[in-house]
Symmetry: C2
């Protein structure tokens, strides 16, 4: 993470947002979005997902998007990969970071990626080994994602000790960093604070840890604040909360990037992001939608009188 | 505050919600709402405002509402009063608690209640004296309200030391408790935490302190969590976020009662409230609206699988 920022805002809209809506963005539209948002100061963008195109046609061009996105100076380009084959393709395309996600909940993992958690851990090990084998002059960062860390739509409560165990197993298999996700919007801020406190006690302070929240029950930003309070310095979010319909099970959106950036900047935490430019990116992105709703409040309410962002825009 | 609850949720919808919308609720509709919500376990409701009826016709029946509401067993009935005359009428009607509000921002106080802050403090002193003079067998609780404590639409930033000074002046003039308000939706959770930390250092831990947030920029529940973290145990909120339009200046709504109760209960903090019954009150209230929008997510998303509220409903 750059020394110039206090919290890394990781935009996941081109992946998590776009995969949740009907409209398929043309490759050039995705790249316009990504370039615009990088220019606004967003340091890291998850630009696609290396899944089977018949399962997620919105993501079919992910290799092309990665290949262009990595040309943007300074931008960290991340991609989601479900398995070794996806990882191979993402590394071939030049992604800087791979997000490899498994669910802490056994039932959710089986339902979502048709594997047991042990099988997912084994696949994770293969991905790390593959990277070591093929790479000499660069190192793709591999992030171990822990989905359903705060609860599961199938099995309900997820024990904190299960999250700790899977976190340690991912690190033992070579994860460079962790991403802890409230995949289904179950978390509350007390739980978030407690879980991250426990996680930092378990894995130490040297492993970068990100948090991924959905706003299903209106607690997304409260959870983001709680995570920051616990020491988390990387947060996933989605421009305009795209894909966000809190009322359709399975389709509740990520926290809204511009609202998150406003909160952090108002709290005196530098994100490196220019809020005005970010709102322009939002408008650009909305121009490609075909009726899908967006979320958020900052774009309408604007900054409060006297607002001084932590990031000084040059 | 009852020993059975950890956080007092103070419903202000029949005042702050109804005064912000066009529709005038008949007295019986207000009482249906109040009775239903009290039955759902809400311990305190601000049922009206003793202002000039020509200024706020929605509040013209406040004396009648108070007179009936105080018959509800166990309910603490509060009312907003802008001046001595309002306080006299509210006490005559039998209100248990008076909220007397002044703005920390001089400019906002002048604009809102056409007095200097010093004049407001003098009026506050008269209200406390009047209560002492007329009351023998009971004591109406007087809450000193500090509006614009987190910023002002006219003068922007409000210094923390000004909030502390006014808090001490209100207590010196006999306030039984304090209510600190983000009247215009400017606060961020870091600021909230810091301000309440400072306030408890200044006035001690024995003065009950409430917090009043608006959700103008999506940070309402994050701010509520931050206040709870700082030790605040009383929060104002509004059923359905009534009156809430984050996009119209001056009309941004309070945080949503049912979302707040869900957050607190999920965090293991007892509110004494039955969430199912609260949603029924919401429906009852919505039945009287004439097109005004309501807010909130919990009523649509419902509780997460495995949710165990802190309050055990008998």
């Amino acid at each position: 993470m750059s020394d110039d920022i206090d919290v890394l805002v990781h935009e996941v809209g081109p992946r998590d947002g776009l995969q949740s809506i009907e409209t398929i963005f043309p490759t050039q539209a995705k790249l316009e979005w990504i370039r615009s948002q990088a220019a606004a100061g967003i340091p890291q963008i998850q630009v696609g997902s290396f899944v089977r195109p018949d399962l997620l046609p919105q993501m079919a061009d992910s290799a092309d998007v990665v290949k262009e996105a990595v040309k943007i100076p300074g931008l960290i380009v991340s991609a989601l990969v479900p398995n070794l084959k996806g990882a191979q393709n993402a590394i071939a395309a030049g992604a800087h970071q791979l997000g490899v996600v498994m669910s802490v909940s056994e039932a959710h993992n089986k339902s979502n990626i048709t594997r047991s958690v042990e099988e997912s851990l084994e696949e994770f090990r293969k991905i790390v080994e593959y990277r070591i084998d093929v790479e000499s002059d660069r190192t793709t960062v591999i992030s171990g994602g822990l989905a359903t860390s705060f609860g599961c739509t199938i099995s309900g409560l997820v024990p904190v000790r299960d999250v700790m165990k899977r976190a340690e197993q991912l690190l033992a298999r070579g994860a460079d960093r962790l991403s802890v996700a409230d995949t289904v919007g179950f978390a509350n801020p007390r739980q978030v604070k407690d879980l991250f406190d426990e996680l930092f006690r378990t894995v130490g302070d040297n492993i970068p840890v990100g948090a991924h929240f959905h706003d299903t029950r209106g607690l997304g930003l409260a959870n983001a604040f709680a995570a920051v309070e616990a020491g988390v310095r990387e947060l996933d979010s989605c421009l305009g909360g795209l894909g966000g319909c809190p009322y359709a099970p399975g389709a509740s959106g990520n926290i809204v990037t511009e609202d998150l950036v406003f909160m952090l900047e108002a709290m005196g935490m530098k994100t490196g992001v220019d809020l005005d430019a970010l709102l322009q990116t939002r408008e650009l992105m909305e121009g490609y939608l075909k009726g899908e709703p967006t979320q958020g409040t900052f774009h309408k309410a604007g900054p409060p009188l006297g607002f001084v962002p932590a990031t000084i825009v040059a």
